[in-house]
Amino acid sequence: MNGRTDWTAHIVLGIGVALFVLPVWLVFSASTQDAAMIGRGELSFIPGAGLDIYWKVLSEGAPGVAPVWHLLLVSFGMAMSIAIGKITISVLSAYAIAFFRFPFRLLCFWMIFFTLMLPVEVRIIPTYAVMAGFGLINTFTGLTMPLIASATATLLFRQTFLAIPDELVEAARMDGAGPLRFLRDILLPVSAANIAALFVILFVYGWNQYLWPLLVATDSRLDTIVIGIVKMIGADTSVEWNRVMATAVLAMLPPVAVVVLMQHWFVKGLTEGDK
């Protein structure tokens, strides 16, 4: 601000960075070391043997667990389906609630609002029963579908849409744009930053799912990376910790990549409205 370096601020920030980075670094460092060494509790901060282990876990995984590339694929598929599915459904429902006058509009709105109080963890048994009834246990659909409905995203989009000036809607009507055209040509592009920001959040949310996949997908072909790590640890007494750590590092990469790639949009979507 006044040109002088503010050392206090730098030190505080430095400590903060260290607190966040150290555990991650420890995981990375452990992944490159010998399994026996970690087993003896001699965990070093300095990376050891090399990166071969990554290739190994990617292609073969660990005893009793599918290769990590497959775990990543399932997780990626699940996170993408959840993020895209949630965005699609909530954009459409928010569009209906924000722009159209139909009977029971408010009732619909409050019903969606109400589901905020019913996350998957609360309704897990009935949801499981429903999925079982549809014969969707151990299927990819069963894995993703119950996680797609989203009140949060609907409410967020509703707010975004309500902030769009009426004149913009009216100008489009006068130009002859019907409801679907308006959605596609005006509303979605104008809300692009919000959609991108939400995508990041939802992708990470989907990626980190644990309880539901654990319950609904017992088939190892549908193991996500999170489940995979847990299985690696719980396999037997001789856990190969370097493999587990390497898998953990790999598990971190896609969400990080999504955040980094979409960072610009993310910040823009949360801070400014491009209207």
Binding site: E167, E170, A171, A172, M174, D175, G176, A177, D185, V190
Partner: protein
Amino acid sequence: MASLKLTNLRKSFGTTPVLHGIDLELASGEMLVIVGASGCGKSTLLRLVAGLEEPTAGAIELDGKNVANLDPAQRDIAMVFQNYALYPHMSVFDNMAYALKIRGLSKQDIATRVQETADMLGLGPLLARKPRQLSGGQRQRVAMGRAIVRHPKLFLFDEPLSNLDATLRVSMRAEIKRLQRRMAVTSLYVTHDQVEAMTLGDRLLVLHQGRAVQLATPMEVFERPANIYVAGFIGAPAMNFLPGALSHGGTAVTLDIGPVIPFADGKRPEPDGMKLTIGIRPEHVVANPAGLELQVDLLEPLGSETVIIGRLSDGTMLSVKLPKAEAPAERMNVGFPPAQLHVFDAATGLRLDPG
């Protein structure tokens, strides 16, 4: 290029009536300015014509066809919004091309028409820009261009200049008038600015509390306002009003403050003693050594002229517009030339003409 006819057009929001039956006929190519204070229903009237609101009753005929129940898109009407309402994510070109694209014109036709319109408005070099990269005046032009490029049957302007600064407003006003003449598109122009109303319109519709109080040419509205509201609304500074009564067999007014002024335009048939309100514009009040004494409260120099705001002996406020050199310091004596009086019935507020 179409004629527009409104018949008994009404609109209520819930139980609140906003428009109490508007009748209006516009010839093809005519520009009608709708003027009134905020809340008079002028924007609602425009939105009814546009199809953005549904009328409670009445007909809207465009070229003899009732469009009151049609979608905005089917009416072939273009509108310029107060805040421009440009699509923020589209370039100037796409903003202008959007309506044409929806109608399924070929890419080439669209390009030609947009280019033509852009050249006419001096937007040629800006076609690739986004709205946020434009100044207020340029956005205004794009909004105009978006309307013009469609070659609509009817133009609607909803206070299009009110977001611009004063200098720009004057030049855009001239430009709108020039464009409207050149394209000869029937237009409705809503404004609360009386200068815009006077300069732009072929005719003027003064709305007051949801009723059409006068529909006439701007000069006629200025010279022969239909009632006290119009008289006070059009003209700046506003017209002065003085109470009085009809006297001398309907040939003169006796002002409550004293003087008797004969009517220059003839005898009123109403009985003597009827309460009147006499209107006189500030620029018509003259200095007259034998006239009423005016205590000067405030001087507002406008450059070539000065507005004097003062009080008569009975406390009535009076404003006078005089050439600069004649402006007094503390007091002056004023006279009211008979030819410049506006006579209104004090009870109804309506203009009283010689019978």
